[in-house]
Subunit: 206 residues, 3 copies
């Protein structure tokens, strides 16, 4: 339990860093950066909890908000250096989405959602924060571009539900499914893999 | 009840198709298309349920999610052909917003919202999915352009509340109000009608 | 209580005017303007209530929706003149965010959120409506630009929580904290103050 709680806080911080970095890139003030860190870190899980009709964990447990502030603080003071750490951040981000996928799927099942909904929530929890961040920044969301990002989360969530169905213990399931997400994401970044796109109609006409 | 449930699923599928088509137009991968189909089909009703503080129906009933997957599948495999079916889709979409307007208004009244709020929710349920879709696609939302779309939903929701006030049976009310929305929408598309806009200030100066 | 209720309705109306004005600037029809007025006025507080897992006040009390309709009506009929009243509107808007900050912080504490979450909610309640408005209009949200806007709300919410901690009566606390927000906002507008931004990386390289 303690380890999971710690990783959850760490994942929250990592996402806050990525939100703060997005704000920094556009010359936004520190309050704007905090806001961006906040929605990026907490957007996905909160949306899941709202649809499950439960109260998000950060409303009562202020450790999550403190983790976000630390993340934003890091993104602001280490602004220039973070770009040199891009690879490190990709690694952290991959760990973050791996863990958030598992936590999201698990929580949804515990609160009585259907298996398919739990899979969607698992993906949401991990990928939605980035969607909100990119939407606010007026960019086409990362998950709507060709990169394998949401699809890594989705497949990890599906794996979790299947392993749960076959009665694997929660601990092993969490470890295997999260590792699967991290692996898929890192391999796709390393080899620049992407899913096939549906060709736009205009191209077909030419 | 069975017919209403079936139409609800059909409406969900139609909206998923329109979301998938929007994604296809921009060359987005199949997971992105699924995401777009999902938010388009479920965004409006979920937002209503969240404000009513109840759990959206698709969290527990996976038939809605299956309807969405079928819709997205159709949008992907029939990508090119769908543009030839534009008229058919406009008809389906009109039926969809007609039905969603009535379901949304009815559900809000049942859960104790005021008449005015029920009218807003009726419009929301029908039109909001498209707003989210267009916002994510970085386009000015359809309902904020001149076309008669949200206004058709709004007038249908008002009609429903008035007929409910005068004691008309739910079945007839649903049929009449939904038909009204469909009629207004189709007539406005056919004759290219639009509401008067408030002239921008710049124009007045010239 | 009566005065607070009245100010709450007035603040709602002022935000609806600003939403309607944003719609008018882009030549959007009256239903679109109503929609924009609605999300601007109600977006922030509703988001707070959704995360607190309670039902927003306007779902059952239709006075809030009536206040919005009046606000949108004003923005539409007084379209041209409102631009001459820009200073008056800035004043009203400042009063609006001051009051909404205090109401938001107070309500969050009453419903059991942590102090830090209450501060976030106080800022949200006041500033989020504008974020949604600007996002739908495809502009970089005001609060993400350099102006002191969200930061005024944030500091007011922090002040409220500190004074609450030291046992100041709710009435005095509300008055002092709201006045603080209004003062900070108006002074920053008058003297064109802004927070220091984190320099974008590109600038540093040159």
């Amino acid at each position: 339990m303690n380890i999971i709680y710690g990783i959850d806080l760490l994942g929250t911080m990592v996402f806050a860093i990525s939100g703060g970095m997005a704000a920094n890139r556009q010359g936004i003030d520190v309050f704007g950066a905090t806001f961006m860190g906040f929605v990026t870190a907490i957007g996905g899980g909160s949306l899941r909890d709202v649809f499950l009709n439960i109260r998000p964990v950060w409303v009562e447990d202020s450790n999550y908000l403190i983790a976000i502030f630390i993340g934003v603080f890091i993104s602001v003071i280490a602004n220039r250096h973070l770009y040199n750490w891009a690879k490190t951040l990709t690694l952290f981000d991959a760990i973050g989405i791996g863990f958030f996928t598992v936590v999201g799927t698990q929580k949804s099942l515990d609160y009585g959602s259907s298996n398919i909904a739990a899979i969607m929530f698992g993906m949401f929890s991990a990928a939605m924060g980035g969607v909100i961040r990119d939407t606010l920044m007026n960019e086409t969301p990362l998950i709507l571009r060709k990169e394998i990002y949401a699809s890594a989360c989705l497949s990890g969530a599906i794996l979790f539900v299947i392993l749960e169905y076959f009665g694997l213990s929660r601990g092993w399931n969490a470890f295997i499914s999260a590792s699967f997400v991290v692996g898929v994401r890192l391999i796709s970044v390393k080899y620049n893999l992407s899913l096939p796109t549906v060709s736009p109609v205009e191209d077909k006409k030419s």
